[in-house]
């Protein structure tokens, strides 16, 4: 076992989803219906399914280290 396994990935981090990689879309979650909402840059902030205007950013996919104390 080595601590190196748990080193945070280096370099620029992208929140883009695999499916939408390259298209420039970011994935959000609708605050009302929890559906996945891919948004292009400059697109209106709006759920494509229910029309809600509150969207949440997804949690980072990066490992986060904590001390258990």
């Amino acid at each position: 076992m080595s601590g190196q396994d748990y080193e945070a990935p280096s370099g620029a981090f992208s929140q883009r989803d695999d499916a939408t990689a390259g298209s420039g879309a970011m994935i959000y979650r609708c605050g009302d219906c929890a559906v996945r909402v891919p948004l292009e840059k400059g697109a209106p902030i709006r759920c494509q399914k229910c029309g809600a205007r509150v969207l949440y950013k997804e949690r980072t996919k990066r490992m986060v280290q904590f001390e258990a104390r």
Binding site: G3, F66, R69
Partner: protein, 372 residues
């Protein structure tokens, strides 16, 4: 004036702390050199051995109660403090969270995980596993099989399609609505396999500790590193739920307490402290015993003063005030050690003894270096 050596009765009296209606007397010990003129109270190993004894009242894996009789409060307290703060255990120290979409925050979850007591093979825990050296700033940690134990927790909550349509209990409606300590999985590495397999596997002492609650779609995915540590660093490393001692209570009935009074007297103490016995013919025949003409009546006798809480309730009653003397034996310590499961309770005490011995040895070495 020549010095008269103290009688046995006088020696016993010196050990007693007086517990009165409103005051406490003779709190400090007096068995040190120079206190009593003409008496030698220099500490001596042979004299200590003669006056010292250990008595076990209960010895279970998770709870042990025993008495140390004939030692000073400083020593008794040193053992207590070492048991709480210096006996090492293994606990979760680092949490690497890959994903946590539950409502419990990452840092709170990590804190909760750290407090879960774990157990495993004794030989592996106490002999094989060594201290983990904390890396210097910017250095990589040196995690190996002999100083780090890896655990993982991977759980996802999903709808239970077999659930009744009228069901309202989340644990039946969903799979893994509750995350328990038993969901944590041990990942043996290297030689850990030979020390921690089968019944010696590293596992939570209490499998049903609730860690988090989930709803469908939420998941927790993390790995954990356990290290050895001591209670003085963090309470999660303490091997005891608590280790404490009480000083032995003494109850001396100075005048007979009979009949209805005896029953009332008994109720002034916790159960089992005071018993009721019939006055014998022999006692009733004795002149000046106070039992004359009371043959067959019930009298109060002290059965088990150890169980007394020294509430002093008895001293509030006018009729008992002058018939009983309460006190505590200054050199009799009743310990209660509750293990969290990584050590046997009695082994924690034995470990504290060897710790104190090691501390004394290192102090001795430092003194030798000082005068050199």
């Amino acid at each position: 004036m020549p010095h008269k050596p103290p009688t046995q009765e006088e020696l016993e009296k010196r050990k007693i702390v007086g517990v009165n209606f409103e005051t406490v007397t003779d709190v400090s010990s007096t068995d040190f050199p120079g206190h009593y003129p003409g008496e030698d109270h220099a500490w001596d190993i042979e004299r200590f051995k003669k006056g010292f004894s250990v008595e076990f009242h209960q010895n279970d894996p998770y709870e042990a109660s025993f008495s140390l009789i004939g030692c000073d409060a400083s020593i008794a307290n040193a053992f207590r403090r070492i048991m709480i703060a210096d006996v090492p255990t293994l606990a979760i120290e680092n949490v690497f969270i890959w994903n946590n979409t539950s409502v419990i925050q990452d840092e709170v979850l990590a804190h909760r995980l750290g407090l879960i007591p774990f157990t495993g093979g004794r030989e592996g825990l106490h002999e094989f596993l060594k201290w983990f050296e904390k890396p210097a700033e910017g250095e990589q940690p040196n995690c190996t099989d002999y100083n780090t134990v890896e655990l993982s927790l991977d759980i996802k909550c999903e709808d239970n399609d077999d659930a009744d349509s009228k069901e309202t209990d989340p644990t039946k409606l969903y799979h893994h609505a509750h995350v328990y300590a038993k969901d944590i999985v041990f990942k043996p590495i290297g030689r850990q396999e030979q020390y921690f397999s089968g019944e010696n596997i590293i596992r939570p002492v209490n499998p049903d500790i609730l860690i988090a609650k989930l709803r469908p779609g939420q998941q927790i995915s993390l790995t954990m590193h356990m290290h050895k540590g001591v209670g003085s660093d963090h309470a999660k490393f303490s091997p005891v739920a608590t280790a404490s001692y009480r000083i032995m209570p003494t109850i001396t009935i100075t005048q007979p307490i009979l009949g209805r009074d005896a029953e009332k007297f008994q109720k002034c103490f916790p159960k089992g402290v005071i018993g009721l016995e019939k006055v014998t013919a022999k006692e009733a025949a004795q002149k000046g015993s106070g039992y004359r003409g009371h043959e067959g009546e019930l009298k109060a006798v002290v059965v088990d003063p150890k169980r007394d809480t020294v509430s002093r309730e008895v001293l509030r009653h006018e009729e008992f005030k002058d018939k009983v003397k309460l006190g505590r034996r200054r050199d009799h310590f009743i310990y209660l050690v509750e293990s969290t499961g990584q050590w046997e309770s009695d082994a924690i005490f034995l470990e504290s003894v060897s710790h104190l011995k090691a501390k004394a040895k290192s102090l001795e070495q430092q003194l030798v270096n000082m005068v050199r």
